[in-house]
């Protein structure tokens, strides 16, 4: 499914000395399964506990300790796999990945190498300012997290906390299908939306519950693939974009000065916005994977899968399709409105019994614009779906015009009350009294007889009269009535 053929949008090319460059990006996302206990032990997984207070003898790799698989974790992997439109492997197995590090007590990580629990899948992403892109999922496998090394508690030693040791992670590996930092962050955004709506991972990047290893290489647009570097554990959308931009530039600089890219693992320095070689990974690794003899194969039945399938919530993609279908809104709008569960719920409340397209426009235009400007999340919006709906109702029943509605919205956003309160208080009610409008029209025609005479030859110039009448009414006249009366009086 790898679409090496897809060439990045020209706007995403990076300019070089002799020619442009294109980025090839793949991601390995580690998502912590939202389980109570660890993957192979009964110790708790809660964030922020005192050091080594959530560590069983199994997690500390005491002699003779043995792993037993947490059923919930298997279930969540299958759920997530279904959410990624991926193949569920009825036979999977845990393997040992052998290497030494003080925060890896066993001297190996139990992971899935040859037979992952989830195989190939595909999701669609909507990068900001670009076309939707389909990104292939290579696999999803389960593995245990390592502990934590802390270097700033002592100048001479490293302190190790094993609370995270053994926590269940889903590693979701994408195909190298992304071509810009925006696509990469949109992909992570989408994955996060999926795992959150499934409830399999809380998606909290700040706590490290969702983190990405980013593989980046550069090539001539459409040319031969280059050597990639892997940037480990990047933990925010912004850092993902920064790391990719920095890394692509770094590689281009090397290539343009005649150098070669070393395939290596790198670290992203959040403070400096740079990537650098990871020293601990300098030894060429030979992980000596082999089936963990303490564990037996995981066998999943059709029944097990069917049960999970039956209980799946509506996923972002399905919801998007439904929005297009039942609300009749464009795919682009549906994509934005289903990017998170919160957005989708907001929209569904707003659109219920109203014009769906107008609802979409108001939400994506005025509301998102205002939220963006104010730096507020949708869940904290001062105007909720019910309140915004109240405003749309006043447009629909012609109490106010769309233009006045924008003023009303601003005041609502500023906390001045409901649409009705503001319309009432500011006297913004639309004038629909035909007599009153006719009077205004007559006044404007009388004041501009020459202009009025020319309208018959050039009907387009009637628009000027509309503007004048609206102005005279302080925007409150019903524009349709104004048009109608003008047309009659001017003989258009």
């Amino acid at each position: 499914m790898f679409t090496a053929e897809r060439v990045a949008d020209k706007k995403d090319w990076l300019s070089g000395r002799d020619h442009d460059w294109e980025m090839i990006i793949g991601l390995e996302v580690h998502a912590q399964v939202a389980s109570n206990a660890k993957l192979f032990s009964g110790a708790a997984t809660e964030y922020g506990a005192e050091p080594n207070t959530q560590v069983s003898l199994v997690d500390a790799a005491m002699p003779g300790m043995l792993p037993v698989v947490n059923e919930f974790c298997i279930e969540q992997a299958v759920r997530t796999g279904l959410g990624l439109n991926a193949e569920i492997n009825k036979y999977s197995r845990f393997d040992r990945k052998n290497y030494f590090y003080p925060d890896l007590p066993q001297g190996y990580q139990i992971s899935q190498f040859e037979f992952p629990i989830v195989g190939e899948g595909e999701i669609e992403i909507e990068p900001e300012g670009g076309e939707p892109v389909s990104v292939g999922i290579e696999r999803l496998h389960l593995e245990q997290d390592a502990g934590k090394s802390i270097h700033d508690l002592s100048p001479d030693d490293t302190f190790v906390d094993l609370n995270r040791s053994g926590v269940c992670l889903m590693e979701i590996v994408s195909k190298p299908d992304m071509r810009s930092p925006e696509e990469a962050s949109a992909y992570v955004e989408k994955l996060r939306a999926i795992v959150r709506s499934l409830g399999t991972c809380d998606g909290d990047m700040e706590k490290g519950n969702l983190r990405a290893d980013v593989n980046v290489s550069v090539r001539k647009p459409g040319g031969e693939l280059g050597t990639r570097c892997e940037i480990k554990n990047v933990n925010s959308m912004r850092f993902i974009r920064q790391a990719i931009n920095y890394e692509a530039r770094r590689q281009i600089d090397i290539l343009e000065s005649g150098g070669e890219i070393d395939q290596e693992t790198r670290l992203f320095d959040n403070a400096k916005g740079e990537t650098r070689t990871m020293r601990s990974k300098e030894d060429a690794h030979d992980y000596r994977y082999f089936p963990d003899p303490d564990l037996l194969p995981i066998k999943i039945t059709d029944d097990f899968i069917a049960k999970i399938k039956a209980n799946l919530p509506e996923l972002p993609d399905a919801r998007k399709a439904r929005f297009i279908e039942s609300y009749g809104i464009p795919a682009y709008d549906a994509g934005i409105l289903t990017a998170s569960k919160k957005k989708a719920e907001f929209y569904e409340t707003l659109a219920k019994g109203r014009d769906a397209k107008i609802a979409a426009n108001w939400m994506m235009g005025d509301l998102f614009g205002a939220l963006n400007k104010a730096g507020i999340e949708l869940e904290d919006s001062p105007v909720d779906a019910v309140a915004l709906g109240g405003l749309l109702d006043r447009i629909a029943d012609k109490t106010i015009s769309g233009k006045i509605a924008k003023q009303v919205f601003e005041k609502m956003f500023a906390g001045e009350g409901s649409a009705d309160d503001i319309i009432e208080k500011d006297g913004l009610k639309q004038v629909t009294d035909m007599g009153a409008i006719e009077k205004l029209v007559d006044d404007v025609i009388a004041a501009n007889p020459d202009q009025a005479a020319k309208v018959a030859e050039n009907p387009k110039s009637m628009g000027w009269f509309v503007g004048q009448v609206m102005k005279a009414s302080q925007g409150k006249a019903n524009p349709q009535a104004v048009n109608e009366i003008l047309r009659k009086k001017l003989g258009v």
């Binding site: 003898l57 790799a61 005491m62 002699p63 003779g64 052998n98 007590p105 000596r288 003899p293 303490d294």
Partner: protein, 489 residues
């Protein structure tokens, strides 16, 4: 007065129940015997104070007519089983004074049933060896002696030596490639490795996880049945534990072999094998036949590949299982220049030569480019070996073969070629690779007066037939020889 150390486990338990003597009495007798036998170096750690306390507690229960299957019996535990509050070394320097804060499932079953633990028995380091000469705590000496000191076999050498010397009524052991059966054969004792998954591996220091299995070493077949009854059972903490009800092993000992088909695998012989062993095997066939069994000849064609396959699978698993011994969370740490140097010095200093050798082999066969040629192929050969047995079960109910290709040999015999040493396990590893129950029963003395064992191998989960055939063999062989007590102070 009875010499309490001459009791069998069965006899002791009966006497305790009948209040012929107390647990404290027989425990004291065994403690004395253990102290007298310090030359055998069978124990790494003794725990007499706790043993006395346990004996007293048992006596209270027994007085009330209560008590479990092993109530009041002084037994030994191989120092591969983690015991709460009692140093556990695995025969290695690397664990230092590691004192587990937990009890292995097997020993906790036995404590539940009233075991009086005398201490922790010596073994080859991490159970890697066939002579008990790789222990950091020095070699164990076989109570059987011809001029030189002899090895008791390994890796459960301490267990075998202690039981043969009558300083414990029985002992726990483990068998990864023959480590229960080979020392049993070398010391004139009974040892059974049950079906893989019968005894929980939880809390047993791992050597090769897919092969390791605990079992008892005792003086009689019935004693083994009693001990295994207590040791075995489903454990949800071990994913490879078998969730099946335990048969009555003790009752199985009395079943006899009438109507059983005993297979004789023609491949269980080897160049240079002493004629005594070949003759004993023929004798065994006759004994079982006379006891009513039907003898059939079978072929297990991949037998010769079992040992080399084992020497890929076991070191590979061990190289990974022993990675946790790094001096970071427990055990000895040897400071180096930096983290990696600390790892390397800690492990080079803490592991003995044979363990280092196997870690290196294991690392090599799993490393990039060699996995398929070695590890994967060995696992396929393993499947072939298991299939050989399945084919044999179409024709017979159990197999009879020699346990080992030799009797005990002198301590300190130079080992120039590790492969020569590995050949000790040639007849025993097959059962480990296939996960089958197998027992060694002492059957005769060779021309030098040293014990030799015969081996019964059974179907998976069919220890009952193994006990039945083993008991029949024991009865026919009527092996009464005892080592002369040369060590006593």
């Amino acid at each position: 007065m009875t010499d309490f150390t001459n009791l069998t486990l069965e006899g002791a338990l009966a006497g305790l129940k009948a209040k012929d003597f107390t647990s404290l009495e027989i425990t004291e007798a065994h403690i004395k015997a253990c102290e007298d036998a310090s030359e055998l170096n069978a124990f790494i750690t003794t725990d007499y104070d706790n043993a006395r306390a346990a004996a007293k507690a048992s006596d209270e229960k027994l007085a009330k007519g209560d008590g479990g299957l092993l109530e009041g019996a002084p037994l030994g535990v191989k120092d591969l089983f983690c015991t709460e509050g009692v140093r556990t070394t695995a025969g290695s320097k690397i664990l230092g004074d590691f004192t587990p804060q937990y009890e292995s499932t097997v020993t906790s079953n036995m404590k539940r049933d009233g075991m009086v633990m005398l201490g922790k028995l010596n073994l080859d380091e991490f159970a890697m060896g066939s002579a008990n000469e790789t222990s950091y705590f020095g070699p164990v000496i076989n109570p059987w002696k011809v001029d030189d000191n002899l090895v008791p076999g390994g890796s459960s050498g301490g267990s075998a030596s202690a039981v043969a010397a009558r300083i414990c009524l029985g002992a726990t052991a483990t068998d990864t490639g023959g480590s229960i059966r080979q020392p049993a054969s070398f010391t004139g004792t009974v040892g059974i490795k049950p079906t893989y998954g019968r005894c929980s591996r939880w809390g047993v220091v791992a050597f090769a996880s897919s092969l390791d299995q605990a079992g008892p070493i005792t003086r009689t077949v019935k004693d083994s049945a009693i001990m295994l009854q207590s040791m075995a059972g489903y454990d949800p903490k071990d994913s490879t534990s078998i969730n099946e009800a335990l048969p009555d092993f003790m009752a199985a000992c009395d079943k006899g072999v009438k109507g059983l088909k005993i297979g004789i695998p023609k491949e269980y012989t080897m160049d240079g094998m002493p004629s005594d062993i070949e003759e004993l095997w023929q004798q065994g066939i006759k004994w079982l036949e006379e006891a009513g069994a039907e003898i059939v000849h079978v072929s297990l064609p991949h037998t010769k590949y079992a040992l080399p396959a084992y020497y890929i699978v076991a070191p590979a698993e061990a190289s990974s299982n022993l990675a946790r011994y790094d001096g970071m969370r427990y055990g000895n740490r040897v400071a180096g220049e930096d983290l990696n140097d600390t790892y390397e010095r800690t492990r080079a200093d803490g592991f003995g030569k044979e363990v280092r050798r196997r870690i290196m082999i294991g690392t090599y066969v799993l490393s990039a480019g060699y996995y398929d040629a070695y590890y994967l192929r060995a696992q396929k050969v393993r499947a072939r070996i298991a299939q050989d047995f399945k084919n044999a079960w179409e024709k017979c109910d159990a197999l009879l073969a020699p346990t080992c290709p030799s009797a005990a040999f002198p301590v300190g015999r130079p080992v120039n070629d590790p492969v020569q040493m590995y050949l000790n396990d040639i007849f025993t590893v097959t059962a480990n690779l296939a996960g089958l129950p197998a027992m060694s029963v002492p059957a005769s003395l060779d021309k030098d007066g040293l014990p030799l064992g015969l081996q019964i191998i059974g179907r998976a989960l069919d220890e009952e037939t193994v006990f039945a055939a083993g008991a029949a063999l024991e009865k026919a062989a009527d092996f009464k020889a005892e080592p002369e007590k040369w060590w006593s102070a």
